[in-house]
C-alpha cells in the first residue's frame, strides 16, 4: 500500500501543515513516511505545495510524480496537478473557491466546501483541517483517533485553545464525504 499525495494551495492555507500532519500520523501507525515541501521563493498568497508519501513499503524516492491523491486548495493547483494524477486516484477540491470541476474520468473527485465550513465554525484558518477530515474519511488511510491525537499534540501550549475547533473541523470534513467513500 502506497499513498503518494500532493497537497497544494495558496501560501497561508496550511498545505504544509496538512502534509506534516499526515506524515506524523502515518509514522504513528507504523507506516514509512516522507514529507517534501516545494520551497521556491513562496510567499503568503503565492502558490505552495508539498508531497507526502505514506507507505507500507520502503520509500525509495520521495518525489511524487504521479500522485494517487491530490488535495487542491485552489484553482491553479487543480489545473496544474490533475493531469499528472495516477489513474484511479482521488482528487479533493476546495469547492468554496474552486469554481471548476475535475475533468478526468478515471479519477474520483470529492468537492469539499472547506472554507465555508471553516467560516461556520468561526475560524477560516481551519479550512485545511476540514479538508483533511474529508481526505481521511474518503481514503480510510489513517485511523481518525490517530489524527486527532496528532492534532492535539500540534496544538498544545499556547495553541491549545485551537484544539477543539480543529477536532470539530476534522469531524465536519469527514461528514462531507460520508456515504460517498
Amino acid at each position: 500500500m502506497t499513498h503518494e499525495i500532493i497537497i497544494s494551495g495558496f501560501g497561508g492555507q496550511g498545505v504544509m501543515a496538512m502534509g506534516k500532519l499526515l506524515a506524523e500520523a502515518g509514522l504513528k501507525e507504523g507506516l514509512n513516511v516522507s514529507w517534501l515541501p516545494s520551497y521556491g521563493p513562496e510567499m503568503r498568497g503565492g502558490t505552495a505545495n508539498c508531497s507526502a508519501v505514506l507507505s507500507s513499503e520502503e520509500i525509495i524516492s520521495p518525489m511524487v510524480l504521479e500522485p494517487t491523491e491530490l488535495i487542491a486548495m485552489n484553482k491553479p493547483s487543480l489545473l496544474r496537478f490533475e493531469p499528472h494524477m495516477a489513474g484511479g486516484g482521488k482528487v479533493f477540491v476546495n469547492s468554496s473557491i474552486v469554481d471548476i470541476p475535475a475533468t478526468r474520468k478515471d479519477i474520483s473527485a470529492y468537492y469539499v466546501p472547506c472554507l465555508d465550513i471553516a467560516a461556520e465554525l468561526g475560524n477560516t484558518k481551519t479550512a485545511n483541517m476540514v479538508m483533511l477530515g474529508a481526505y481521511i474519511k474518503a481514503t480510510n488511510l489513517l485511523r481518525q483517533k490517530t489524527v486527532r491525537e496528532i492534532v492535539s499534540r500540534m496544538f498544545s501550549g499556547t495553541k491549545a485553545a485551537l484544539d477543539s475547533i480543529n477536532l470539530e473541523a476534522l469531524r465536519r470534513g469527514a461528514a462531507c464525504v460520508e456515504g460517498e467513500a
Binding site: A23, L27, N32
Partner: protein, 368 residues
C-alpha cells in the same frame, strides 16, 4: 528507540549537538536556514554559542579560530556561501584543524537558484581553495544518513585533524523522514595537545598557523598531508551496492540522485532489464577500487553516471572504470531533479549502444 520525524536541516543540527558540537558560526542562505535556526534555539541550552556572523567569510574564520582552541565547531551554508568560505577552508586544512562544514547544495553557477543541485562536486572533492589539500566529503542520501554521517564527521575530523564536508542538497535539507537516533561506532580520539587553549604556565605555547615561510617546512607539511590523505583513503572509503551482482547496466549515483537511480533500477528490473546501483557515500576519498571491481564484473556491459550536475562525478567514475566499460552520463543542472524515466531511457540507450557495437565487431572481422 522509536522513530521520529525530522527535517533534514534540523536533523543535521541536532546530530552535531549530539556529537558534542558547541559552537556554530554561520550566515543565512536558503535552503539550509533551518540549520542555524535550530542551533540558535538549542546551542544555548547546552552551554554553547551560536553566532550569526556578518558574512560567510567571517563565519568560516570564526570557525577556524574556535577549532584552533580545540572545541567541536561547525559552520554550514549553501553553494554560493560555500564558495565564499574557500579561503578559510584551505587555511583550516593548512593548519590541520578539525572542522565540520555542511553544504546543502543549490543550483549554480553564481547565485543560481535555491533548488536542489549537486553541482559543487568539483569544488568539494578538488578543493575550491588553493594548495594541495583535501577535505573528507560525506554524501548522505537519506535523513537517517545525514544524521549518522554528521555525527561521525566530528570523529573523522578529530582523528585526522582535517576539515570534513557533509555534502547534501536542498532536497535533503528540506524534506522530512523518520529517523532513529543512534551514535557512531566509538573511535579512540587523539588528545588535542595542539590546541591554543591556554598553557597555564605548564607547557610551551601552541601555535595554530598555515604560514610555513621556509620551503623545507612547507614541503614537510605537504608530505605530512599527503600521508594523511593516503591513510584516510585506506581507512574511510564508504559506498553501497544495490543489485550489482548480476547487473548489466550499472548506475553510479550519490545523494538524492541515488534515490532516483534506485527507483529506476527497480523499474528496469520489472521490465526485465538487469540494472544495478553503485552509490559512493564518501566522495573523497572516492571508492575508486571498489567501483573498478564492480564495473569489471563480466555481467556489467555499461556504466551510467547520474548526477544533478552537467557531469562532475563523471570524471571520477571514468578514472575508476579506466576504459574497461563504456561510461555514459545522464544529469541535469540548475536545480532540476532527474526523473526515474530519464535514467531508464539512458540505461536503454546504453544497452542498445553496446548491442550495436557488439554486432559491428564481427561484421568488421568478416570484412578483414
Amino acid at each position: 528507540m522509536a522513530k521520529e520525524l525530522w527535517k533534514g536541516n534540523e536533523a543535521v543540527a541536532e546530530a552535531a549537538i549530539r556529537a558534542g558540537c558547541r559552537f556554530f558560526f554561520g550566515y543565512p542562505i536558503t535552503p539550509q536556514n533551518e540549520i542555524p535556526e535550530y542551533f540558535s534555539r538549542h546551542l544555548p541550552e547546552h552551554g554553547g554559542c551560536f553566532l550569526q556572523a556578518e558574512s560567510e567569510i567571517a563565519a568560516i574564520n570564526m570557525t577556524y579560530g574556535a577549532a584552533g582552541s580545540g572545541v567541536r565547531v561547525m559552520t554550514s551554508s549553501s553553494s554560493p556561501g560555500i564558495s565564499l568560505k574557500q579561503e578559510g577552508i584551505t587555511y583550516i586544512a593548512g593548519a590541520e584543524l578539525p572542522v565540520v562544514i555542511v553544504n546543502m547544495m543549490r543550483g549554480g553557477p553564481g547565485l543560481g537558484n535555491i533548488a536542489p543541485s549537486q553541482s559543487d562536486y568539483f569544488q568539494a572533492t578538488r578543493g575550491g581553495g588553493n594548495g594541495d589539500y583535501r577535505t573528507v566529503v560525506l554524501a548522505p542520501s537519506t535523513i537517517q544518513e545525514a544524521a549518522d554521517l554528521t555525527q561521525e564527521a566530528f570523529d573523522i575530523a578529530d582523528v585526522y585533524r582535517i576539515p570534513v564536508l557533509v555534502l547534501a542538497d536542498g532536497l535533503i535539507g528540506q524534506m522530512m523522514e523518520a529517523i532513529e537516533w543512534r551514535s557512531p561506532k566509538p573511535r579512540s580520539l587523539p588528545p588535542k595537545d595542539w590546541a591554543t587553549d591556554g598553557s597555564r604556565g605548564k607547557r610551551g605555547h601552541n601555535v595554530v598557523n598555515s604560514l610555513y615561510i621556509e620551503t623545507e617546512d612547507c614541503t614537510a607539511l605537504n608530505r605530512k598531508l599527503q600521508q594523511k590523505h593516503e591513510l584516510i583513503t585506506k581507512n574511510e572509503i564508504r559506498y553501497e551496492e544495490f543489485m550489482t551482482r548480476d547487473a548489466e547496466v550499472l548506475f553510479v549515483s550519490y545523494g538524492t540522485t541515488a534515490r532516483v537511480a534506485h527507483a529506476a533500477v527497480l523499474k528496469l528490473r520489472k521490465d526485465g532489464v538487469k540494472a544495478g546501483l553503485f552509490r559512493p557515500i564518501t566522495l573523497w576519498p572516492f571508492p575508486e577500487a571498489a567501483l573498478r571491481a564492480c564495473a569489471q564484473q563480466t555481467n556489467v556491459k555499461a556504466v551510467v553516471t547520474a548526477e544533478m550536475s552537467m557531469g562532475q562525478m563523471l570524471d571520477d567514475v571514468k578514472i575508476a572504470v579506466n576504459g574497461a566499460k563504456p561510461v555514459r552520463f545522464v544529469g541535469t543542472g540548475g536545480g532540476t531533479i532527474p526523473t526515474p524515466a530519464e535514467l531508464m531511457d539512458e540505461a536503454q540507450k546504453a544497452i542498445e549502444e553496446v548491442w550495436n557495437h557488439g554486432r559491428r565487431i564481427p561484421a568488421l572481422q568478416r570484412a578483414n
